[in-house]
Amino acid sequence: MMNPKFKNVFIRVLRRWVFIFLGLEILAFSLLGTNFLSLDTLQNILVSSTTVLLLAVGETFVIITGGIDLSVGFMVGFTGVVCAKVMVTLQAAGTTQAMAIAVGIAAALVVGLLPGFINGVLVAHLKVPPFIATFGMYGIAYGCAEIICNNVPIHDLPSAVGPIGHGFLFFWVPGKLFRTFVEPSGLSSIDLKHLVSLVPNLFLITVVFTLIFGFILARTRFGRHTYAIGGSIDAAERAGIDVKRHLVKVYMISSFFASLAGVGYVLRYITGRAPAGSAQVLDAVVAVVIGGASLYGGKGSILGTFVGAMVLATLVLGLANLALPTYYAYIAVGCILIIAVLIDQFSPELVHKED
């Protein structure tokens, strides 16, 4: 028999295999690729991970309760279209850019809560299986988005949208200047060469919400109840938890994150498109699962999901860096997913001998 202390250390490491995997991944691409280990590439990874990461954070809550939210895919497009449409309409009506952008974002975030509310009611009160309820909503969101945008992508957004979506928190020319948020203008070409842009805005927004909800899941009563419902819905109910209400909130969190992703899409691509995000929904589920969650519920963490999303983003950009076709990424993601589930199934339980 293995020494129990050693065994627990082993289990802990095994459970966090995805951290090690991410490290190895970055190491491998750095050695094999060209200029992979650079600030630009790493920040590219962060930016390109934002859609999947946002969807995955919301999805983590849903999956921990034992459900799944497929609607988030087209929710990105739906809320993105709402956001873009409101911005364009307000701009045409002559409001200031700041106003148009702020109201557009707020509208998307508010409207985005509704599908989550409906999902939650369907799942919790009307006992519709989550897969069906949210898959139905997936279609509804897409259809509504196409109606709103009249089947054409919405362009001509306020001109400040691009700089926000492509901006950074810090701009720094070593030894010369340091700015937050506003890109310095009128720099000489030499200074421009030395300009370091740090922390992309989109990633900053994503990380702020990820941290807040990671805290909620890990440290608060709401988080604890989320795990309890996934562990045993009967136990949660009999312990006096209002399970139905809780589930509605969880599905609303998921659609809120989809709306954030929708807004992020508009800021990044400066357009609102109905099909946006549909390709990311499964990536989000994969990120959650390789981050240690179980589709049976009761398990998972935001930190794990974060690393899971980074593994995926690193893989895609790393393969691109190696000039390998994207279909290799599908094979790799498929393998990682299966390995993740196998490790989850066969890793033993952590048993403490004393408090």
């Binding site: 608060t220 339980e349 952590l350 001998k353 408090d355």
Partner: protein, 269 residues
Amino acid sequence: MEPILEVRGITKRFGGLVAVDNVDMKVYPGEVVGLLGDNGAGKSTLIKMVSGVYCADAGTIFFDGKEVKIDNPMQALKLGLETIYQDLALAENLDVYSNIFLGREKLKRFLGLVKVLDHSYMLTESRKVLNRLEIEVPSLRNRIRTLSGGQRQAVAISRAIYWDAKFLIMDEPTAALGVAEQKNVLSLVRTLSSQGVGIIIISHQILDVFSVATRLVIMRRGKKVAERITADTSPDEVVGLIVGSIPGDVPNGDGSDVKLSPVGASHAG
């Protein structure tokens, strides 16, 4: 003295099946009442209406002298009415102390702003209550999944007694326990009753019930068929009442006595 709990004419139907049919029952403070009956007699359904898991289709519940509506488990818990369920109802993915405090977590302020879980408080308090039961659980940070049946039962019991219940319902509290542990639980029942807690105990171990209960209520096929003072009856009579070989005091609705037939006997407890 007023009963702490009284149910009058309580009824529960599942489709065409009447699981509990017009049952009356009283429990006084400090009294231990044994609720007995065969599988499918309606014992668990009856207590689930009291604990808020099921809503009664008819009948009234009085608690502490007042008529109460118990529509969900939280209302029962708020009244001081705790239940240990036959299936224990634990979240297996959570650790011991999280289960003991589930739904009633102890919180503390984080940076003076948000309320977060107070793990160390819950851990120490859980340790105290488990020690009372003298059942060894190595670490309260272990998930329920890793525990033995007896340890799980101890957690379920601890959860119920931690909150200073006025009333305790125990559905098969000793089923998963070894002999020594069963003794602990039964002596705990006596201690709680001496403190004035009203208790309903359901168990297939008739001798256990005889050793702690002062009064027995016997159910058969959804109906209360007899009520006995423990000192005035014998296990043989009670078994006869349970299986129907001795006719009960209360006739069936149609005036005939209960005949053994599979109809209606299929619904679990």
